[in-house]
């Protein structure tokens, strides 16, 4: 294990704290919003900015610790950028379907076939 320069430590710490605080804000929004269709939005903050910040911190620190470029950690945010919209769309369609089954009046009606 090679000692890392000071600026690497500082930048890693800043990126990790920004990512963790963004994850905290996103999860607090998940707790705080009052309807399901409002609650869908805040966790996407966790999937984008928080994940990218922590992964960039990992790439920076591991590149200096192992003394070679450590770029393959970027597959995690790329995979999440591909998978999070799929989960969100499936969940929102399920919630809309279940709200219509329940007879809720605050959701748009199903499209009529002409």
């Amino acid at each position: 294990m090679t000692p890392t320069p000071t600026w690497v430590d500082a930048l890693t710490a800043v990126l990790a704290v920004v990512g963790a605080f963004t994850a905290l804000i996103g999860s607090f929004g998940l707790l705080r919003m009052n309807t399901y269709f409002r609650r869908v939005h805040p966790p996407s903050l966790v999937a984008t900015l928080a994940t990218w910040s922590v992964i960039l911190a990992t790439v920076l620190q591991s590149s200096f610790v192992t003394a070679r470029p450590y770029l393959h950690a970027v597959v995690i945010p790329v995979f999440i950028a591909l998978s999070a919209p799929i989960t969100t769309v499936l969940l929102t369609r399920a919630a809309l379907f279940r709200a219509r089954q329940r007879g809720a009046t605050d959701v748009p009606p199903p499209p009529t076939s002409e």
Binding site: M1, T6, D9, A10, T12, A13, V14, A16, V17, G19, A20, F21, A23, L24, G26, S27, F28, L30, L31, Y36, R39, V40, P43, V46, A47, A50, T51, V54, I55, A57, T58, Q61, S62, V65, T66, Y70, H72, A73, V75, I76, F79, I80, S83, A84, I86, T87, L90, L91, R93, A94, A95, F97, R98
Partner: protein, 92 residues
Amino acid sequence: MSSIFPWALFFALGCLTLAMVFALVRMIVGPRAEDRVLAFDCLYLNTMLVILTLGLIYRSSSYFEAALLIAIFGFVASSAMAKFLLRGEIIE
């Protein structure tokens, strides 16, 4: 500066733990099933970030595989639960 470095990472770990507690509270009190699945989605992302932050603290690059596995299994689990809520069965 390098004496502040572990404390900043412990602060990040505390923030992520509090975020996991928020997601867990939403999973417990969530009025319907889709709220619980959404809270699970947020919870596994926070868990993955906790594991990456532990890798930063211990300066080890082998925590990356665990984080990747959690991301993959979390996606499979939450999309299977969403599909179940939508259609009543997973594999048609």
